[in-house]
Symmetry: C2
Subunit: 298 residues, 2 copies
């Protein structure tokens, strides 16, 4: 099949990638639309050593599901962590942290910038009829934004700052606004006065901005993953007794609901759409400063 | 008065340090015994730009208290953060995070390696009669160990690892043991299986050891403060959704109780005792590998 291929930090569109097949418990999904995420750009920089088809944001139609033919033809989005179901983390109910997980387009599983992909049936969520593909493709990043609410008690009486005005930052601000929580930028409040700061710049420099904004005993939610190390001293976080909370993938069901009900609006965030054959160009476009979501259409 | 003096990263005992005086609301305390903490050693390395008398662990006798003569003659220990009572942090009840605080022997207030020191009356705690000086002088570090229980819900069913076998690490293990919680070293459990890890090595390298021990969605309590930056990538903490909790000063009343009741034993931790005139030598002794508490006696 036609697919974007990442190897040794180089991207190329190839037409000789083997078609995915669905082992027991999995489905083959024909990709309708896929989104480029900052993590994809970091993968190309070497954030994680991955060879294969990148991409983890998609909406598609089930083409084959050996164990569950009733899924065939349904329009779906999919959670990206494929769990073993048997390890200590799975047993503890932390399936997104499965010790033997594969991750769509990130760890040992080909991703979304292809004509088709394979995922476990357990990962699939049917897309409501009224929700267009161009909105449904945002389910994964909206879920990642909602994960914050799963981890940290955020209330309307708190001062919340979002550091990072990119795609994820905008989605986080919207998901919090849906709870009646107004968010500010670091410039929008006095230094050291934020109860909660969400760091989603995608750059190591974001940590210092978050530190400057958070109050003593406040909370910094860490959303950025990036390639490379940076020199930091955590002592100021110790002295101020700040809590740092790493935050990754989130719940799909409420994300689909938020998109379907329009409490999160994403249409204005689509800055470009490319056919799969021009996916390398799409990646270059997505890496430009100020560009939000770039979609790829097989 | 005779005192140890820190200036430009150099220590010297001087006999011309002005005697402390107590403004309204404060007391002058004659120091009976003072302890050398890792933070003192880091101060000498330049962790924080401080000029004056270092030291923040002490037991002493109140010599003068203009507003409260009933305190004179009482044996006391003292909390190290002197709060303004008026700033936003004080108003929010976070007095140890007062924006205008002075800190005994660390920030804009002369410390314990002197014949006398001054502290607000509000900071003083009377020492129970039966508690010897050599035990009471541990109140501040025991309180710092107890702060962990104020911040993190630690239960006997959890696997707790302490990284760092120094003074603070031993006190932390003992304060947790008093709750029925056995602690392990990083070697004592399989990697990535600890629910809670306390990092108190005093070195930036401790963070990597803590990361290797903590399970996904586990908690790392950060106790180390040190001079200098270190290269880290926080992305693994994000991917594993680890929570990092900065932890500093703790509650004195339960610390005094633990020492008086013997639930925390510290006698074996005293490795040396020096007169104040030989305090520079005492610091060199305290900096040697494997040395636990060194006490200084004015």
């Amino acid at each position: 099949v036609l697919a974007l291929w990442l190897q040794d930090r180089a991207l190329a569109v190839r037409d000789d990638v083997p078609a995915p097949h669905a082992p027991s418990g999995e489905a083959v999904v024909r990709v309708l639309l896929a989104g480029i995420c900052n993590t994809d750009l970091e993968l190309v920089k070497g954030y994680y050593p991955f060879t294969g088809v990148p991409g983890h944001e998609f909406v598609g139609v089930v083409d084959a599901a050996p164990d569950a033919p009733q899924w065939v033809g349904r329009r779906v989005v999919g959670e990206i962590n494929a769990a073993c179901g048997a390890c200590a983390e799975c047993a503890a109910g932390r399936r997104t942290h499965c010790e033997r997980r594969t991750v769509l387009g990130i760890v040992a599983r080909h991703g979304t910038f292809a004509q088709a992909l394979a995922l476990p049936l357990a990962n699939l969520h049917e897309v409501p009829d009224g929700l267009p593909d161009a909105l449904a493709v945002f389910t994964e990043p909206v879920a990642a934004a909602l994960e914050i609410q799963e981890q940290v008690a955020v209330g309307a009486e708190q001062r919340v700052v979002v550091v990072g005005a990119g795609k994820l930052g905008q989605l986080i601000a919207q998901t919090l606004a849906a709870l009646g929580i107004a968010t500010a930028t670091p410039d929008g409040i006095p230094a050291r006065r934020a109860d909660v700061v969400v760091e989603c710049t995608g750059h190591p420099e974001g940590l210092a901005l978050a530190k400057a904004a958070v109050r003593p005993r406040g909370t910094v939610v860490l959303k950025s993953t990036y390639q490379g190390e940076t020199a930091v001293n955590l002592s100021p976080f110790v002295v101020d007794e700040v809590t740092l909370v790493g935050s990754r993938c989130g719940p799909f069901a409420p994300a689909l609901r938020a998109l379907a009900e329009g409490t999160v609006r994403v249409d204005h965030m689509v800055h470009a759409r490319y056919p799969l054959a021009r996916a390398v160009e799409a990646f270059r476009h997505a890496a430009r400063p100020g560009v939000l979501k770039v979609l790829v259409e097989p």
